[in-house]
Symmetry: C3
Subunit: 275 residues, 3 copies
C-alpha cells in the first residue's frame, strides 16, 4: 500500500468511528425502491435515518438534521417540488446535502429537475458513470454522448473522469462517479478507488444507499471530498468482504449490511486499493 | 417466572395460535420504509396484510378488514387526508385500529395530523418513548420536554410510564411505549416487558412492523391491552432468539422474521421476562 | 418427464439464457410493497429494472424500454392516471406489457381502474386465482362469485381454468392464474405447472416480482404464452430449490433470489412438473 492509499485508509477509518460516535441524523428523500436498504445502511454504520419528505415539514426539519440526501430515482412532479423545498431549506440552514442524479441525461423531466435542484449548491453529486456524464452534458460542459439505459451505467470509469472534474469545478462541489473504478474529484484533487465487486450491481439501490451513507460522512468530515472518499472506501471494502460469504445477490446484500455494521478501520487499512 | 409472567406468557401463546388460525386481514397504511418488513412480519405470523390506502377505496375496504394500522412515518398532506378517511371508516365499521405516531412531538405538521387522527378513537397508540412523551405533550397532558431526534428514541423507559398511563386514560385506549423495557398501559393496568435486544433498533422499521403485527392481535384478542401484551412478548422473545443466529443487523432481520414464523407458545413461556 | 414437459423445460432454459444475454430494460410501475423484491428479482435474472412512473416521463421512456409491467397493488387516483398514460405509451410504441390485477374483483375503484387499463391491449394478465376470477367477472364473462379477502387467493386452481381461458380469448392476451397449480392460457393452448411451494405465499410481493420477471421474458420470447410459461417454470423450480435451504420465510426469500441468480437450464429440465 502506497503512502497516499494509507492516508486515505486512515482517514476513512477515522470518519467511520466519527459516524458511530456522533450518530448523525440524515434526511433521505430517496426513491421508493431504495427506502429500505438506504435506512438499513445508515443504521448499520451507526447513523440515524429519517425519510421525512413533505414540503409541510422539510423546512422545519432542516434545522434538526445533520445532512440531507436527495435521490431522483422514482421522480414525480410532486416529489420534484418537495425536493426543491428541501434543498433550499438545507442551503438556508447551512446543512450539507448530496444529490444522486438517478437516470439523469436520459429523460427530459429529470434533466429539468436536476437543473432546478443544482441551484442550491449540493456538497456532493454522486452517480454512476452514465449519470455523471449525463449531468455534465445537461449543463453544457461536454458533448460526450451518454446513453443511459434505465439506471444502469454503460460507460467505463475512464471515460467519466474528465466529466467529474468539470462538474466539480462548475458546481463548486465534489463529484463522484462509481464504477469498476470509483472516481472522486473536487475539481482540484482526484481519487480513484479500485475496490468493490460486480455483485454490487446485482443488488437494487445499493448505489442509492451509498449516497445516503455518504450523507452521514458529510456530517462528520472536514470537507465533502474526504466524506466521499471515506464512504467509497468503506463500501468497496465491505463489498469485497461480503462477497466472501455470499451465494448470490440476496445473501450478498445481507452480508454487505452485516459488514457495514462490523467493519473496522483495520479492514480498510488492509484492503483499500487506490490507483 | 412469577405468576403474572406465566399468565401473560400463556395469553400470548394463545393469541399467537388464534392469529394463525383466523388469519386476520390487517390493513396497513404505513410509511414507505416499512412496507416490506410490515407485510412480511404479518405473513410470518399467519396474518393477511393489505396496504390499501387510497381514499377512493378505504371506506369500502373498511367493511372487509379485521383491523387497521396507521403509521405516519413518511407523512404528506395527501397521506394525512387518506389516513383520516381510513380512521373514520374503521370507527364507523367498528374495526379496531392502531396508530403509530412516528416522530410525533418534533414537527408541527405531524403534531397537527396526530390531533386530527386521535379523534377517531384508536384502540392502541404505539411508539417509542420519545414519541409517547411527544403525543402526551401535544395533548397538553404533560410538560415533560421530549426532544426526539428523527425517529429514534432518546428517553429511558422509566420516564415514559407516567405519560403512557395519562395518554391511555385521556384517549380511553391502550398506550404502548417500546424501549429497553416495553410499557403497556390501558390507564388502569400496566405491564412491563423486559425482553428484546438493542439489535432491534439497528433494523429499520422493525417498530413499524410491530405496530402492524399488533393490529393482527387486535383482531383476535378480547381487548387492546391483551393484544399489545401478546405482540410485545412475541417480538421481545423473537428478538432474543434471532440474536443467537445473527452476525449483524441484516442477518438478524432474516432470523427475526424466520423466528416470528416458527416461534411456539412454549418459547414464550420459557423466555418471557416481566418486571 | 413427458414429451410436452421436456419441451416446456427446454423453452424455459433457452429464454433464461436469452434474458441474461439481452438484459432487457423492464419498466415496473408496481406497488410500494413490491419495489425492492421486484427490482432484485429482475437483477437476479440479469434484466435491468426501472421504476419510472411519472406521467411527465413515461411517454418518453416508453421508447427506451423493452417491456412494461403495471401492478395495481397500492392504487391511488394519481397512480391510476400514471398507469393509463404508461399503458397507452407502451401500446403506441409497440412494447409488450403485463398487468397484475392485485385485489381486483373486491373493490369498486380498482375494478374501474382495471377496465380503464385493459383497453390498451396487455400481452399478459397475471394474478392469483381470485384475481383472475375477479377480472373475468368485472368483464361480465362469468357469474362465478370470487370473494378475494385482501390480496391472498382463496380459490383453487381448478376453479379458475375456465376463467383464464375466457379472459385470454376476450382480451386476446395470455392469462396466468398462479396457485397450487399455475395455469397459463392464451385462449387456445393451456399449460399447467405443478412446481412451487406454499412458502412462496409467505413472502410478500413474490407474486408481484413474478409479474416483473415475466415482463423480462416478454422482451425475449416469441410470444406471450411462451414468456409466461418460462417465468412460471423458473419461479416454481426456484421456489422448490430455495425451500431446501430455508428455515422460514425470510431465509427462503434470500435463498429464492440467490437461486434466481444461479439457476441453470438443467435445473428446470430435471425438476419441471406439468400436468
Amino acid at each position: 500500500m502506497g503512502k497516499d492509499t494509507a492516508a486515505l485508509a486512515a482517514l476513512s477509518g477515522k470518519l467511520l468511528m466519527a459516524v458511530a460516535e456522533k450518530r448523525p441524523l440524515v434526511q433521505s428523500i430517496t426513491n421508493f425502491v431504495s427506502m429500505d436498504i438506504a435506512a438499513n445502511a445508515l443504521l448499520a454504520i451507526g447513523a440515524s435515518p429519517a425519510m421525512v419528505h413533505a414540503p409541510e415539514e422539510t423546512p422545519e426539519f432542516a434545522r434538526l438534521i445533520d445532512a440531507l440526501v436527495i435521490n431522483i430515482g422514482t421522480l414525480s412532479k410532486q416529489a420534484a417540488d418537495s425536493m426543491e423545498i428541501a434543498a433550499q431549506a438545507a442551503q438556508i440552514n447551512r446543512k450539507p446535502w448530496l444529490i444522486d442524479p438517478v437516470g439523469a441525461g436520459g429523460l427530459t423531466f429529470r434533466n429539468e429537475t436536476m437543473l432546478r435542484l443544482l441551484k442550491y449548491n449540493p456538497a456532493i453529486i454522486r452517480g454512476n458513470a452514465s449519470e455523471i456524464i449525463g449531468v455534465t452534458r445537461i449543463l453544457g460542459l461536454t458533448d460526450k454522448a451518454s446513453a443511459p439505459r434505465g439506471v444502469d451505467s454503460t460507460s467505463s470509469a475512464n471515460e467519466v473522469e474528465d466529466c467529474a472534474m468539470a462538474l466539480a469545478r462548475h458546481l463548486k462541489c465534489t463529484a463522484v462517479a462509481t464504477g469498476d473504478i470509483d472516481i472522486i474529484s473536487d475539481g482540484d484533487r482526484i481519487a480513484r478507488i479500485a475496490n468493490g465487486t460486480p455483485m454490487m450491481t446485482r443488488v437494487t439501490a445499493l448505489g442509492c444507499s451509498l449516497s445516503s451513507v455518504t450523507g452521514a460522512f458529510l456530517a462528520v468530515a472536514d470537507n465533502a471530498f474526504e466524506a466521499a472518499v471515506a464512504a467509497l472506501a468503506i463500501y468497496g471494502v465491505s463489498g469485497e468482504m461480503a462477497l466472501e460469504q455470499a451465494a448470490g445477490p440476496a445473501s450478498f446484500r445481507t452480508a454487505f449490511l452485516d459488514t457495514l455494521y462490523s467493519i473496522r478501520a483495520s479492514d480498510i487499512t488492509t484492503r483499500l486499493r487506490t490507483i
